[in-house]
Symmetry: C2
Subunit: 205 residues, 2 copies
Amino acid sequence: MVRTIERLPKRERHQLLTSLIEDNPFITDQELTRQLKVSIQTVRLDRLELGIPELRERMKLMAERSYDPVRSLPLHEIIGDIVDMQLDHSGISIFEIKEEHVFSRTGIARGHHVFAQANSLAVAVINDEIALTATADIRFVRQVKLGEKCIAKAYVRSISGGRSKAKVEVFSYVSDEMVFQGSFVIYRSAGESVIEGGMEGADRN
Amino acid sequence: MVRTIERLPKRERHQLLTSLIEDNPFITDQELTRQLKVSIQTVRLDRLELGIPELRERMKLMAERSYDPVRSLPLHEIIGDIVDMQLDHSGISIFEIKEEHVFSRTGIARGHHVFAQANSLAVAVINDEIALTATADIRFVRQVKLGEKCIAKAYVRSISGGRSKAKVEVFSYVSDEMVFQGSFVIYRSAGESVIEGGMEGADRN
DNA sequence: TCAGCTATTATAACCAGGTACTAACAGTAT
DNA sequence: ATACTGTTAGTACCTGGTTATAATAGCTGA
């Protein structure tokens, strides 16, 4: 038969359908019919097989996610992904600079995102129920730009003051080049009452 | 007639309807009918009068808002609301600590939010096309807790280094009590090329 | 007292964007 | 031939509405 050139095998069509919906969740089956050049039933069978819900369900899920005040914020716990962690000793996290972290005009990351990565890592590396940043001495060595991956390394330098203070140094790199350096003093509660003057609490079990 | 006790005058019903939808945007007219004890037609006329779109439109709007990568993030430009601004001299912003800024267990604000307010204010107060944080020396004096309003005051202390550097001090208060203090060095471009070592760019016209 | 008004309710037709099911047909494999 | 896969078609039904038209109740002013 004159198998039209357009027609894809099922597997490929499934992939295409998935990616079409992924980068436009607001697309209707009608539209998909047009783009995939198959009948609307096929589109629906495909969605069924792939477990992709109907348009309205997709919108509802998105709306619900954005309505949840906790999940809707990216800066909840630790900023960046932990890739290595030795409590009370050192830790490493990676944080990719995306559109939402930069100034649109310049493509340069806003400083507080780089700070947030370093700060949350410094707090996380302290093995204690509650850890709070007391002071920080930071330096932005060079700009970090859109798309760059920022690797923060934290080292616990000392635990002093009757175990109530720790000094943590954090260095952030973009491929071997240092972009940020910070020296943090973290207060820690040794299971006791909250220490005055801090700013961070770490939820940990 | 036995005007049922439940029935509200139109005005009050409108208010109630508005607030019902406000704190549960996922409610259907059917549900509203039950809660307001009027017919579904009345509910719909009310929505029409009040310009409240149907459930699906409401969900769509929410989904679209959360899908827009720019609008979906609260930390885009300046953190906190500017209440006073004298460029190259001083500025004040207010930032309310909400659920999303604190550790759930302790109710204490994460440090980088307080830092972000101070940092973005320090950058904003510099009257230049591009302003970048070079270094910061900061101190969290005491914790800031859920619900507290953080008032940051920035003062430009000096403009030196051939107009390419500015020193800005920021003090943050919760009702007269200082909670944060920071000393920032901001690089500025006097309309020239970008200076190395900075981290912030300010979009301004 | 009665027309005129607003507010409310009822009824029906219609819509988008589906689900669920049943059937038919083409091509391919066994 | 038979069975199986993939695709298309058609129908009934669903939710959560819209739009339009009409009927009813209650109050108001002259």
